[in-house]
């Protein structure tokens, strides 16, 4: 049960991170020229998604 809950929560967390990224694309359309703060936000989101992917990989590989 814990296993399922964790991977599900992580999956939702990633979906929500994608929405945060989507928000930046919306704000900067149509050219998506990002300022330093926005670049930092995107990189933080990507890093978090990567960590979440690794966590799920670990869980399902065990």
């Amino acid at each position: 049960m814990n296993f399922m809950k964790n991977v599900v929560e992580i999956t939702f967390d990633m979906a929500f991170l994608i929405e945060d990224m989507r928000e930046i694309w919306r704000r900067t359309a149509p050219f998506h020229k990002l300022n330093e703060e926005e670049k930092k936000q995107i990189l933080t989101i990507i890093d978090s998604i990567k960590k979440n992917c690794d966590l799920i990989s670990d869980r399902v590989s065990k």
């Binding site: 929500f16 929405e19 989507r22 928000e23 359309a29 149509p30 050219f31």
Partner: protein, 375 residues
């Protein structure tokens, strides 16, 4: 990219969208997260207490209380849209009498009144070039109805901001007249509440109809709000004879899924954004000022008091006459520049909205229109 047979919709991410119907309903990331989580059918009913509006998990009851306060009203119910809110009031009030509406009303107001069995009278707008509704004409309308039917109307409706010109009517003035005549006053705020601050008590409104998907940053379907003043709940929020928790006018429970959660999730953002309304008006005025440097005229009240802008654009119409893409040239020229939301084929008159755009985006839109027009 496709989703089965559906085309991916990335208009908000890949373009600047100027469609007035869509700019105020552009969702927040919180709304989209709520939608993702509550997307399944009847998701809102996990902890049902017998009716939507008394549900506390999620806290719909608490939310409705906050919304009432936000609108300066006493009670609120979620509806499936603004038109359903208007119809609910009309249906509850109607005994087959008449209704006085503004001449700039949305078609859904008119069909709601017709469906509710009300005879429709209109306060005409003042015509070119501003098409304004004069609040004082409501008195004249009331007297005309009394003369013709022997009674004052059962209801008065005002479209606070119309969807054609984006004119903002002095609702407080109309409210005062309605109160003087003891005619119940329904304010349609589809294009105002959620964008600008609305205080129903100051306005003197008995009922306020709102559109979540048009002006409250909600999506995931249709969602509206009907807010009422103390004293009307027994009539307008009356429950079914055998279903004491189910309000008749929303058929017991209206929006039973993600759209209501989207509205709730966006609400904290909406409460903040209405405080920045003056900035939104500045952007609209700036764009009009820029566009009128070439053969373009803004139609409707001047200066603008709303982000919905109607334009008369002979400059593009003249280009279309000789352009190989004819009337479609403007649509494609704008799309090539990453701007959408215009009806394809329109070059003479069209509507746009600057709501929610950054100053950088508004400047770019202005530059693009001017460049296409040869300015």
């Amino acid at each position: 990219m496709n989703i089965g047979k559906l085309e991916l919709r990335d208009r908000e991410e890949s373009f600047i969208n100027l469609n007035p119907l869509q700019t105020g309903g552009r969702t927040t990331s919180d709304a989209r997260k709520a939608i993702i989580s509550y997307i399944d059918g009847y998701s809102i009913c996990d902890w049902c207490k017998g009716a939507l509006h008394i549900t506390t998990e999620p806290d719909i009851a608490g939310f409705l209380g906050e919304v009432s306060d936000f609108l300066g009203m006493d009670y609120a119910l979620p509806t499936n849209g603004c038109r359903e809110a208007k119809y609910g009031v009309m249906h509850a009030i109607s005994t087959g009498g008449s209704i006085l509406c503004d001449g700039n009303m949305h078609y859904s107001s008119e069909v709601s009144a017709e469906r509710a069995g009300l005879k429709i009278y209109k306060v005409p707008n003042k015509g070119e070039p501003e098409y304004k509704i004069n609040p004082e004409d409501y008195s004249e309308g009331f007297e005309l109805i009394k003369k013709e039917t022997g009674k004052y109307p059962e209801l008065a409706l005002l479209t606070h901001v119309d969807g054609e010109y984006g004119n903002v009517v002095d609702a407080k003035e109309v409210g005062k007249i309605c109160n003087d005549y003891s005619v119940p006053f329904l304010l349609n705020t589809a294009y105002s509440s959620g964008r600008m601050e609305i205080d129903g008590k100051k306005i003197g409104a008995d009922f306020i109809a709102c559109s979540g998907h048009k002006s409250w940053a909600a999506g995931g379907g249709n969602i509206g709000i009907l807010a009422i003043k103390e004293g009307w709940q027994d009539k307008v929020f009356k429950p079914g004879a055998n279903w004491k928790s189910k309000p008749l006018e929303i058929l017991g429970c209206s929006s039973r899924g993600a759209s209501l959660l989207a509205l709730m999730a966006s609400f904290p953002h909406v409460k903040e954004r209405v405080k920045k309304w003056d900035e939104e008006v500045k952007k609209a005025r700036y764009l009009v000022n820029e566009l009128e440097k070439i053969d373009i005229k803004q139609i409707g009240e001047k200066p603008k008091n709303h982000d919905l802008i109607k334009l008369d654009t002979p400059v593009y119409d003249n280009i279309a006459k000789t352009h190989k893409k004819k009337g479609y040239f403007l649509y494609y020229e704008l799309k090539d520049r990453g701007i959408i939301g215009m009806k394809a084929g329109r070059t003479r008159k069209f509507k746009i909205s600057t709501y929610g755009l950054s100053w950088e985006q508004v400047s770019y839109v202005a530059e693009s229109f001017l460049e296409i027009g040869g300015g």
